[in-house]
Symmetry: C2
Subunit: 191 residues, 2 copies
């Protein structure tokens, strides 16, 4: 019997630590030795679960790629909830930007797998937003969905550099203006 009860399978333990370190310090800044040491395992064990660091990075991004939970609320509520949670994310101390955008920035030309996952994630989010605004009956869902996505990523980038606690709220206000301009109001959306 080991001193510390593992409870979780080894793969999950590794990914927990890898996620924390990759996101907090950056992918290139964290070596596999550091991850293994932090988990408390040998480097050999890590390489028994993942074929390479790139493979571990891909698994890290895949695990961050969680679908947005289905909701019974109105599409407008769901959109506004997204912006509210965004602003809350800024408030949490460990916030370090979007892990997918960061990954693309860090890996550059190499590691095509990670690029693909990041691309798929962003397209998934755009598709989610397009679905919501389509249900609101706006004339140009594609444009509005992209614009709302732009607001989210822009607020994230601004907060990453400037740490402006108001940036989330301002992005939310801008979203409201764009929605209203597309003919969406709280009253209209409730109908």
């Amino acid at each position: 019997m080991s001193l510390v009860a593992p409870k979780q399978p080894m793969k999950e333990r590794i990914l927990d630590t890898a996620d924390r370190l990759f996101y907090q310090r950056g992918i290139r800044a964290v070596g596999v030795d550091t991850i293994a040491a932090e988990v408390g395992i040998s480097k050999r064990t890590l390489y028994n679960h993942f074929p390479s660091k790139d493979g571990l990075v891909a698994a890290y991004l895949m695990r961050r790629f969680v679908p947005i939970p289905h909701s019974e609320k109105s599409p407008l509520d769901q959109i506004m909830r997204t912006f509210e949670r965004l602003a809350q994310g800024f408030a949490s101390k460990g916030f370090r930007g979007c892990p997918f955008v960061n990954a693309v920035t860090e890996i550059g030309e190499s590691d095509t797998e990670a690029r693909k996952i990041a691309l798929a994630f962003k397209e998934d989010r755009i598709a989610w937003m397009r679905d919501k605004v389509t249900k609101l009956g706006v004339p140009d869902p594609e444009t509005l969905a992209t614009q709302l996505a732009i607001l989210i990523d822009g607020a994230i980038a601004q907060d990453l550099v400037r740490r402006d606690p108001e940036v989330g709220r301002k992005a939310q206000q801008a979203a409201r203006v764009l929605l209203a301009h597309a003919g969406v109001t709280a009253a209209a959306a409730a109908s």
Copy 2:
């Protein structure tokens, strides 16, 4: 007499190459050996001009921190010109996001100097935007300026991952909507 006429001072030659490699491949992905080899000089010469890699990175960012040229056009024209040039930047093949946001992402906790420069840059751009929208007489220049900055950084992040050729135009449309909502129209701004 050397085979290749230097023409530019050594420091500029180094920075030219460092800029290209740092921006294109990433700061952490490029070593000083690579830069020196690309310039065609010895590593010793590079370190005679810059105290460290961090110092070179700082100089690279400083050189990217160019003031927006003064213009006699109307503030609204200048703002819209900014969005137009943004969309053009996406079209250029070598576009790899905002070098300042990228730097903050890549360096993480260390290299405080680079963080400061990135922060100063973003604040300078926000201040420029605030100055322009203030001249337009909007009720809340701080909010609108931040929102326009969010649109710019958001379009950059979206384009970095998704390579959507329409994202620049959609950000520009969103900017027009936000300006109009603040009471700014082409006719009103010209007055």
